[in-house]
């Protein structure tokens, strides 16, 4: 526990360094303000205003936000949260298990192969991924035909199918982000636990998981965000039959059918940002709490 005087000293010295540190951070702040603040401002502005096509006047309105939280739009938000939470959970668990196998294995070849493959697969998304799945396990896909998956009730073009496709890039992503943390678990801790008579389960319950918790949570949040924002894969696979908010935004923003829906799309974008913010808000205090174990 630091004493009060030293804290004050630290405080003054920090205050003295303040302006210069702030100056060094200026490019970052400018970048953030320009690339995140400006679009965010534009989204928020569009979500709460309406421009009358007749007189060109812009007025404040809550109608877009209200619409974005009703009917099919609300359904799509719920669908997206469900799909993202489920895939992040499954992907997180499987990713940790795989990463643990890779990290503890003595084979460096397996290690580098698994990590390289993860790096590639975690970035394999969009229409190419969708088409790869269509060609293998779609209705006339090679594997579907060989193994007669259709009679087993398999359908790629459903919530389940989409979950499987998402896991294809989420599991490698989890492996990538969690492997360094697993490597940080020092073998000495395990030996110490064993010497004190702890079982493997006890080690994980009292040492391993608490130490890993911040990284695990961080991984989950990253996976959730990735799945939540994914668009092209779902668009190519399920069209409108699995309601997802990114698909709804695309329909409203860049469609050939519905006119004048741009502001509802922006409102949906704002909803997405709020949900992502909520997830982070849950994650940050938990992480701070878990981080105490690491001191």
């Amino acid at each position: 526990m630091p004493t009060t005087p030293s804290r004050t000293a630290g405080g003054t010295s920090r205050r003295r360094r303040g302006p210069r540190t702030w100056l060094a951070a200026l490019p970052l702040l400018a970048f953030t303000g320009l690339c995140f603040g400006l679009p965010l401002g534009a989204i928020a502005f569009g979500a709460v205003t309406r421009t009358d096509p007749a007189d060109g006047a812009t007025r404040l309105t809550g109608e877009h936000l209200a619409r974005s939280l009703q009917g099919p739009y609300l359904g799509s938000l719920i669908g997206s949260v469900q799909l993202s939470a489920l895939t992040a959970l499954i992907g997180g668990v499987l990713g940790v298990l795989i990463a643990q196998v890779v990290v503890t294995s003595r084979s460096t070849a397996l290690r580098s192969a698994a990590l390289t493959a993860s790096g590639v697969l975690a970035n394999f998304g969009g229409v190419p991924l969708a088409f790869a799945f269509i060609a293998t396990v779609g209705i006339s896909g090679v594997v579907t035909q060989l193994a007669d998956l259709t009679s087993l009730g398999w359908s790629l073009y459903s919530f389940t199918g989409l979950t499987v496709v998402y896991l294809y890039f989420l599991i490698p992503l989890m492996v990538l982000v969690i492997a360094p943390a697993l490597e940080g678990l020092r073998p000495q801790w395990r030996e110490a636990a064993q010497n004190s008579g702890a079982s493997g389960r006890q080690f994980w319950r009292h040492v391993g998981l608490p130490v890993l918790a911040p990284s695990l949570l961080g991984g989950f949040v990253l996976l959730f965000g990735t799945a939540f924002a994914a668009h092209a894969t779902a668009a190519a696979l399920v069209g409108g039959s699995v309601p997802l908010v990114t698909l709804k935004i695309a329909d409203a923003l860049a469609g050939n059918v519905l006119t004048g829906q741009e502001n509802v799309a922006l409102a949906l974008g704002l909803d997405m940002i709020l949900i992502a913010g909520l997830v982070m808000a849950v994650y940050l205090p938990l992480q701070r709490r878990s981080a105490r174990w690491l001191r």
Binding site: P72, F131, G141, S241, E262
Partner: protein, 387 residues
């Protein structure tokens, strides 16, 4: 470390904002020189409402050639023969066509016009879904211009002021791979048969894709619905989904060739194009316009009111509505708006006509309000019916 799909998601979120930002950075257009110094022309090209305002067709061509280029957007080369149309225009008038974002949607086109107002790279001309042609005209985005063939365009298919007019269209049709499907469906009622389990697809999501929307509209007509009542069509697809016949995958040339969408409801010109494209590749694509749900829809042309190349834009319109341009669309299996007139005066390409899928009766078109109502119903009810 985001996957590309994640990035695209983000792009969708931010695109509107970014477009707004970009509009500040583009180069200002050249002063509208065009045919200003041309003695024969009476008005600035940007204000010309017909060839007469240029003086003559030669003056229009000269003014357009002086500009030397034309910006087009959202014209896929494999859609209604646009690839050949662009090449023919370039060859005939020695004007370079800059084709931007061929797969863009109508709302992308409108967004490009708005966000690049006054810039040299704004689109000069647009090919729009009818709803966007109407809303764009209401927002005063289009220049009124009447092509030489103006009087021949049926009154119901043009804006009275010449701000937009229909260009080409087609019927909702059922494409079917006869190499894989023993008996091809001919009507919407046929699609419900158990033999088509897991085989029926649309060209995308009807709340986004115009042709998929047409498919639902036609299904409504086939099931005691009307232009004002699209609900029976939504119910029909709900039923198809429940029976397992409907697959939500978006049919594209790739899925057709792969056999993933062996039965695809789409515009007849696209389906007829697939038939030609995949001949000899193990795909025997047959096209039928269902007799129980006949629905036709046309797209519309419009000129950007602030086109950076106003004379070239007007020349492009003259080209599209000449017999040559109309026949090129026809060659792409689309039905050009002047088809009935050209059939009468004999300028039509008769070979191309015989290749069109057979249709009985004359098409009817929904009124603006009916269309709006149908879209609102669809946006509200489609998800629930399909999930």
């Amino acid at each position: 470390m985001l996957s590309s799909s994640a990035r695209r998601g983000a792009a969708v979120l931010l695109s509107a904002a970014v477009l707004t930002t970009l509009s500040a950075c583009g180069a200002a257009p050249d002063p509208k020189s065009g045919a200003a110094g041309d003695a024969k022309s009476k008005v600035q090209p940007g204000a010309a409402a017909s060839v007469a305002d240029f003086g003559s067709m030669e003056a229009l061509v000269a003014a357009a050639q002086k500009e030397g280029k034309l910006n087009v957007i959202a014209l896929p080369p494999d859609w209604a023969n646009y690839g050949e149309i662009i090449k023919a225009f370039e060859a005939k008038y020695k004007i370079k066509v800059n084709s931007e974002n061929p797969d863009a949607s109508s709302s992308d086109e409108i967004a490009a016009v708005k966000s690049r107002k006054g810039q040299d790279r704004a689109p000069d001309v647009m090919d729009l879904g009818i709803a966007f042609a109407r809303s764009g005209a209401a927002e005063n985005l289009f220049a009124p211009y009447k092509v030489t063939a103006w009087d021949k365009i049926p009154a119901g298919q043009k804006d009275a002021d010449g701000r937009w007019y229909n260009d080409y269209g087609g019927y909702v049709s059922i494409g079917c791979d006869a190499a894989k499907i023993p008996t091809c469906p001919q009507t919407f009622a046929d699609l419900l048969k158990p033999e088509y389990k897991g085989k029926v697809a649309l060209n995308g999501n009807p709340t986004k894709s115009g042709s998929a929307f047409g498919g639902v509209y036609a299904a409504a007509l086939a099931n005691k619905g009307s232009f004002a009542d699209i609900q029976p069509g939504i119910d029909f697809f709900g039923q198809l989904k429940k029976s397992g016949n409907f697959i939500p995958v978006e049919s594209t040339p790739a899925t057709v060739e792969k056999g993933e969408t062996p039965i695809s409801i789409d515009w007849d010109y696209l389906n007829a194009g697939y038939a030609e494209q995949f001949k000899g590749k193990g795909v025997d694509w047959k096209v039928a316009v269902p007799t129980d749900g006949v629905y036709a829809q046309f797209y519309s042309q419009a000129i950007n009111k602030e086109a950076p190349n106003p004379a070239a834009a007007r020349l492009w319109m003259e080209f599209l509505y000449s017999a040559d341009g109309q026949n090129l669309w026809l060659k792409g299996h689309a039905r050009p708006v002047l088809l009935p007139v050209m059939t009468q005066d004999g300028t039509v390409d008769k070979d191309a006509v015989t290749k069109l899928p057979q249709v009985q009766g004359t098409p009817a078109f929904p009124a603006s309000e009916e269309l709006d109502k149908a879209k609102a119903t669809l946006a509200e009810k489609w998800d629930k019916a399909l999930s």
